[in-house]
Symmetry: C2
Subunit: 429 residues, 2 copies
């Protein structure tokens, strides 16, 4: 085997590293192995255990060994469709649902099958753009601002589409709310306005609602309510069900999108075949829901809302620009008030910011650049998940759900999070 | 959403249906629902349950919820490396192993990342070529013959490579043995000769050994033994462990192939992220092996060998060209001795052959065309898996493993298989 084979790589893939979220996790582990304390605000993994009922269902289905239907177990597609009908008030039928090994894989299939441009408001999740690059799709960025809570506006979208001056171009707009990396979400007025523009220009919306059930007030609204005929809703077990490592994601399509769903299923049948059978059976109980799942959700929301509020306060008090999130477990911090100060310490971009912070304080966060912000912008994502979720759940369960959670109960458990926030505040000021 | 969006599909994907094996299974289910008895010799799924010890390990790890390392759980990669070292006598290290949601998905990643032509001896498994087509790779077919037991020879390969007259072209040769669709395998002399040619021309070998442990005599030999520096060994839980629906596949790379493994892991991190955590923990016990797994393997081999022999006899006696397989659970039948007779019944290609057979006898088999043979060739694959594997295992376990299995014990259990074979024999003569 001679070395000239080394050049035989797909040019779209050369230079793509592991995704930054996974990479920071592996780097943090490495530093930790060297004996240093790491505050892991990097990887966006739910700190909570999978609900007991769902784990039990997995155990009871450990013997399931058959290849399941490519589109997904029928019982599961029924449960997912019902979930969206009840939670989102959108008329999804089981035959409009596609199950995949993570919503990330489904997004990849979508970008592979759909031949169109990808419109991404930034900051955005780290994997949309590399997927487009691997497949060779055009990415069009629309940068949002701190002043607008990192949210794209209908006017911004319309201006962009008018500037493209091509009424017939196939385009896919990816929206994610509550958002990774900032935890902010849209209200119904904003969604309706964006839906109106998308509809007018025939733009398909991929609505990434993986954090929908982690809206702290349980008031997530899907854009599909205003644009059911053009919206694909993406969800899964990873975030609200604490089962990121299980790898199960869901797409709910408009009934009119069989032309897109069918070829995606065809590619699925030539790649991952179907999602792991025991996991699909277990997922039925998660999506079917019920009182125990609802209680789990309300407990986790209350804990996350508490942390969101406390963390925002610590950072805001130190002068960092940051909004209190509406859901999920992220803060997107803008360190621009410290531009001169940081510059004098040799920090002129988000990557350097995160490296220095990790070196000097042991706090691991992700640079704004990873979320497609300009490299020289001093922004970063903080995931407030470095605490024992099982302990926090147990503590929260002792307090009636309609009352505020007892600080003195939670504080000792979530201490690593707030300590890390204070370290950031101290380090920057 | 106007209809002109319907044209916005990747041209490589237009017209790709569900893979034929999955499609025939769904069609058979449909006919069965209409009340007709179906003899399902279509889908290549192991009839045996997952070994009890492995199911137990899955139950014990149902709570595992973390995103695992992209390359795979370290403990599992260690077990897989050891498995190949001990079973195949190839020096695989854990860092040379990549775990994926099925070896099919890993093959897709390989074809996506590696920029080269794909060389396929035919008949071959149904998904290699559609994967190449989706990605846009060139496929070069080398047709084997019934006379050479459907096996490519070193001379054929060399002749093909010389004819291409391009010493530096990056090429990937896919070998599969024991083979789907014919159950035949190579001996060490044949493998050594093919390895010599591949080495000489710098061709990478993807050695699909998913049926390796189902060699009836337990004497599977990997080509990696003769070409360790250029062979990727593909395996997984689907066939020998009866866990097709679990979706776990493995690639073992030469140590020199970090240039290929790393970008594949990078793409994995942007698509499926990692394989389902509970499944990976369970797979550790499967690949670690031990007495209970070895016993399971010997029982399943003995049952399959019995069925292979009996089935071959029924078909041969009827005048159909067929070889007794060396492993796996397939026969590749050549109906060409009946060409004139079939023609008079309006059957002039393999697709028609299978359709008529299904309609007239209820026996579902797959046309040779699906395995990339010429459409007008009268060949088909028969998977002898339509029996209760749990019952067969239980019966087999009552007979010491060094003795031939008692026919009178097995016959009532495997009756649906032999009945289907007789139906085919009767139908054709």
């Amino acid at each position: 085997m001679n070395n000239n084979r080394i050049i035989s790589l797909n040019l779209n893939i050369r230079g793509i590293g592991k995704s930054p979220t996974l990479a920071i996790n592996e780097l943090s582990k490495q530093i930790e192995n060297e004996g240093k304390t790491i505050y892991r605000l990097g990887l966006g993994q739910s700190p909570f255990p999978v609900p007991a009922r769902v784990v039990e269902t997995l155990k009871n289905n450990a013997h399931q060994k058959d290849y399941l239907n490519v589109n997904g177990l029928e019982e599961l597609r029924k449960a997912v469709a019902k979930f969206h009908r009840e939670k989102d008030h959108v008329n999804i039928k089981p035959e409009n649902v596609l199950i995949g090994p993570g919503s990330k894989e489904l997004m990849f299939l979508l970008q592979l099958v759909y031949y169109g441009d990808i419109i991404l408001p930034t900051p955005c999740w780290v994997s949309y753009a590399p997927q487009a690059r691997i497949i060779g799709r055009n990415i069009k960025l629309i940068n949002t601002t701190y002043n607008n809570r990192w949210k794209i506006t209908a006017a911004q979208l319309e201006e962009f589409l008018l500037r493209e001056n091509d009424k017939h171009k196939p385009r896919l707009l990816i929206l994610n709310y509550p958002a990774n990396p900032d935890g902010c979400t849209f209200n119904s007025t904003e969604l309706e306005a964006i839906a109106g523009v998308a509809k007018k220009f025939g733009v398909i919306v991929l609505s990434d609602e993986i954090y929908g059930q982690l809206h702290y007030k349980g008031k997530h609204i899907s854009i599909a309510r205003f644009y059911p005929e053009g919206t694909i809703i993406s969800s899964g077990l990873s975030k609200w069900c604490g089962a990121g490592g299980w790898r199960l994601g869901t797409f709910a399509f408009p009934a009119q999108f069989k032309w897109l769903l069918d070829p995606m299923a065809a590619v699925a049948s030539e790649t991952y075949t179907s999602v792991s059978a025991p996991i699909q059976y277990a997922a039925v109980s998660a999506f079917t829901g019920g009182i125990s799942i609802e209680r789990y959700l309300w407990q986790t929301r209350r804990i996350l809302a508490f942390l969101a509020k406390e963390s925002t306060k610590i950072l805001s008090d130190a002068g960092i620009n940051v909004y209190e999130p509406d859901g999920a477990f992220y803060l997107f911090a803008d360190f621009s008030p410290f531009t001169d100060k940081l510059k004098s310490r040799g920090i002129e971009n988000s990557k350097k910011l995160c490296e220095k912070l990790l070196e000097e304080t042991g706090v691991a966060i992700l640079p704004g650049e990873a979320f497609l912000r300009q490299a020289n912008e001093l922004t970063a994502r903080l995931a407030f998940v470095n605490f024992n979720g099982a302990d926090a759940l147990a503590a929260s369960e002792t307090v009636p759900i309609d009352q505020p959670v007892d600080k003195s109960l939670l504080l000792p458990i979530v201490e690593p999070v707030l300590k890390a926030m204070k370290k950031i505040a101290d380090w920057v000021s």
